[in-house]
């Protein structure tokens, strides 16, 4: 089953419901990157709370989503990294690069609002 992508104003919200295979994560990356342009999105939020692990592949894929979204003008925020998953990512040596993180959806939306304002200031 593919991950549902919801649209809230100019924000895309990908809510991962199930464990994802590598191919499914890559498909999510491609769909999100496409939809950022189609929807002229300012923000992308990815909820990873249903993932039991964030291994090197999942991390690399989230980083790729964030980088390509940024090139298309959108800010990416990952929400729902559990304490166990965070601890394991540290042990593994993973870094999220351009990916911002938030504890919940409110915080993620606030970050995207901040990004939108700073873009306006620059424009």
């Amino acid at each position: 089953m593919s991950v549902p992508i919801l649209k809230l104003g100019d924000v895309l919200i990908a809510s991962i419901q199930l464990e994802q295979t590598d191919a499914e994560l890559l498909a999510l990356r491609d769909r999100l990157t496409g939809q950022v342009g189609d929807a002229r999105a300012q923000g992308v939020i990815i909820d990873v709370s249903a993932l039991d692990v964030m291994d090197s592949f999942a991390t690399r894929t989230l980083r790729a989503i964030a980088y390509s979204s940024r090139l298309r003008g959108a800010h990416t925020v990952v929400v729902g990294i559990s304490p166990e998953v965070a601890f394991s990512m540290v042990q593994l040596g993973l870094e999220l690069g351009a990916v911002s993180t938030a504890l919940d959806l409110d915080d993620a939306l606030a970050q995207i609002e901040e990004h939108r304002r700073s873009e306006h200031r620059r424009a």
């Binding site: 464990e19 994802q20 295979t21 590598d22 191919a23 039991d52 692990v53 964030m54 291994d55 090197s56 592949f57 991390t59 690399r60 559990s82 304490p83 166990e84 998953v85 601890f87 394991s88 042990q91 593994l92 040596g93 993973l94």
Partner: protein
């Protein structure tokens, strides 16, 4: 006492869905061994890394999971075995950030950090066997 649950599992790895199956089986067995919370995630993550190495580098292999019960301690052993091309330079492969497969290069060194014991045997043209163990912390 028999609970009807096997204390060992073997999972054939030859496509990316098997990576998910292997780490889920590992989490189940680890929980049976008495691991809790973050240890379950560490074990599942380590299995995910070694299982992906099989898919990426060898195409096909097997993960064996075994409950360990010795000297009053319990643990889980993970053996990832393939008959792939083998690793030309193990020392390099164990270094953070080294990858020939276009990845982050954290698979093997990361798996070693996530677990308590780590052994690797690899012969060119014969295959690679990675053995990981983690022990339940007492107290």
């Amino acid at each position: 006492m028999s609970t009807g649950v096997p204390d060992a599992r073997r999972i054939t790895i030859d496509r990316d869905a098997d990576i998910v199956a292997a780490r889920q089986a590992g989490r189940e067995l680890a929980s049976q061994a008495g691991f809790k919370g973050s240890d379950l995630t560490l074990i599942a993550t380590a299995i995910s890394e070694v299982a992906r190495n099989i898919v990426v580098y060898a195409k096909r292999g097997e993960i064996s999971l075994t409950l360990l019960d010795e000297d009053n301690r319990r643990g889980l052993q993970v053996v990832a075995k393939d008959e792939g091309p083998g690793i030309p330079d193990i020392e390099k492969a164990m270094r953070d950030g080294f990858s020939t497969g276009g990845s982050l290069g954290l698979g093997l060194p990361g798996a070693r950090r996530l677990m308590d014991d780590f052994e690797i045997e690899s012969r060119l043209g014969v295959g690679t066997t990675v053995t990981l163990r983690k022990w339940v912390r007492r107290g």
